[in-house]
């Protein structure tokens, strides 16, 4: 039960403004925001294990070291295993990828042919002229246009991603102490409200992650079921991949759509009805996801009205592009909690009077040492 009044229109206006400003700044230091997010996700996922170790009798710091050590070991083993599997099966993977990309390109070619036949104006379209028609041309275009940029981005991101295990170690080991130290620095008058704020921020972030997991499950189920009914190979895997890509709203959805269409076009090259069926299914699930599932799971977890969630997604995209889409809801969740609490402190005359009294007492107190 909450006794505090719900935030008014002015508070919501401030929340939206601050959210947009933070998204704008985050977009500028994305190399730092992404590792921070990964650390946060890792922290919440590993916290139950930490608590279990403390319950088993380990000291908190020792438990932090053990969990980080385990994480490091699992990462090293995972990467080694991945490299081993990649080395032994790289040829097979390459062939499979080439097979599906070619299937997608063939479908694209056929669609373009039909379009050009029905709409002669389309023949002059730059889109039709620039689309590669075979795998070699597509590879050449990719190497020419994107590979260099992709490698540069990788070099740019690698050092910041190396920060993740380092930050995770300190977060697990000292996160709780750091939180307590920050709370300790707050004046006594605002102590309880600050505790409440930290608790709500914590709850918001956890709710966001839980909401995201629910969303992934719903997406995977709907897509997997639809693809299975259409007879597409590996429906659950495809559904899961598209659902994970959809963590990045709209942009990730488009990538998932291309993936599903490529597989459908390769599985049924001579059956356009099935391919278009997949496209329609995908669009329906995406619409459901963006306008129903996302506001009902993530939005509701953060106590936002579905309409506000959808509007903020558009605003996030306008301010900070794909990063804004991904970050807008959790950032607004945290900003809402902090703004609400600060609003309560500022408007609570008793708290401010108590703070002034404490300062007065401090001034009149005889200096020790």
């Amino acid at each position: 039960m909450r006794n505090e009044p719900e935030p008014g229109v002015l508070t919501w206006g401030v929340i939206i403004m601050i959210t947009c400003l933070i998204l704008y700044l985050f977009e500028r230091v994305l190399w730092l925001v992404v590792p921070g997010l990964l650390v946060l996700v890792g922290y919440y996922c590993l916290q139950p294990l930490m608590q279990a170790l403390v319950r088993a009798g380990l000291k908190h710091r020792t438990a932090g070291k053990v969990v980080t050590g385990l994480l490091f070991l699992v990462t090293v083993l995972g990467v080694t295993l991945l490299l081993y599997v990649a080395a032994t099966r790289v040829a097979g993977w390459q062939a499979t990828t080439a097979h599906y990309v070619q299937g997608g390109l063939d479908f694209l070619g056929k669609t373009q042919g039909v379009l050009a036949e029905k709409l002669p104006l389309m023949k002059r379209s730059a889109l039709l002229r620039s689309t590669p028609m075979n795998l070699d041309a597509a590879s050449d275009q990719f190497v020419d246009k994107y590979l260099g940029r992709l490698l540069l981005q990788l070099v740019h991101w690698l050092p910041s991603l190396l920060l993740v295990p380092y930050l995770m170690y300190f977060m697990l080991q000292d996160g709780n102490r750091l939180k307590k130290q920050v709370i300790r620095s707050v004046p006594n008058a605002f102590f309880e409200k600050t505790l409440l704020m930290f608790d709500r921020v914590d709850h918001s972030l956890q709710s966001y992650l839980v909401g995201l997991m629910k969303l992934t499950f719903l997406d995977t189920t709907c897509l997997g079921l639809g693809l299975w009914l259409l007879g597409i190979s590996h429906p659950v895997l495809l559904g899961l991949m598209a659902a994970v890509l959809a963590w990045l709203p709209y942009v990730g959805s488009a990538a998932g759509g291309v993936l599903v269409t490529m597989v459908a076009a390769t599985d049924y090259p001579k059956d356009p009805a099935t391919i278009y069926g997949c496209v329609v299914l995908f669009i329906c699930v995406r619409l459901l996801d963006d306008f129903v599932f996302l506001p009902m799971t993530v939005g509701r977890s953060l106590r936002f009205h579905p309409v506000l969630s959808v509007l903020m997604l558009f605003m996030g995209a306008a301010v900070a592009g794909p990063a804004g889409l991904l970050l807008v809801l959790p950032v607004m969740g945290v900003v809402a909690v902090i703004t609400e609490t600060l609003g309560q402190i500022i408007t609570d005359q008793r708290l401010r009077a108590r703070y002034r009294q404490a300062r007065q007492l401090q001034r009149t107190m005889p200096e020790v040492g």
Partner: protein, 177 residues
């Protein structure tokens, strides 16, 4: 004024230094021993105290500083570590039950059960150190480890029952069952 500023500066320096303090393995064991000495936690083992310690917040109050006020929304319980806390209530009967809390005593316990308004004002009678246990953190502990919660709730209930008896005894027209 100048002295006040110096104190403030020293406190800021302490806060700035404090994040680095945890890099040293602090005197955790001594803290656990101190916690064991508090009546509310006397039934807890060292392992349980270590888990509980993560949730406790230390606060220091000057003489005459208000800890919480009557009518505030109660968010947690306070345990006196050192010093003295005066409890002042507009309800005469309540005032008689716990007029003062000393080291080991706790107050504000009703806030641990429900988010209701405080029925009394708590003021530090002298420079006082307290430990605060926040309700939602205590609930999360209850969910994780019912054993710890049960032991704390048992001790808490004993004190609350004692205070209720005292309250009823001060109201002769009400029978004590």
């Amino acid at each position: 004024m100048l002295l006040g500023k110096q104190t403030e500066r020293r406190q800021i320096l302490e806060v700035m230094k404090s994040p680095f303090n945890f890099l040293r393995a602090a005197a955790d064991d001594r803290r656990i021993e101190n916690l064991k000495g508090l009546s509310l936690f006397k039934r807890l083992t060292a392992r349980e105290l270590r888990e509980l310690d993560l949730l406790l917040h230390e606060r220091s109050y000057q003489a005459d500083e208000v800890i919480f006020d009557e009518g505030d929304t109660g968010l947690g319980l306070y345990i006196v570590v050192s010093g003295r806390v005066k409890i002042v209530s507009s309800h005469a009967a309540l005032q008689r039950v716990t007029p003062e809390c000393g080291p080991g005593d706790f107050f504000g316990e009703l806030a641990l059960f429900e988010e209701s308004q405080r029925t009394a004002r708590a003021v530090a009678g002298e420079p006082t150190q307290v430990l605060a246990l926040f309700r939602t953190e205590f609930f999360s502990l209850l969910e994780r480890d019912r054993g710890i919660g049960l032991k704390i709730l048992f001790e808490l209930s004993r004190t609350v029952v004692g205070r209720a008896r005292k309250l009823l005894a001060s109201q002769p027209h009400l029978p004590i069952v």
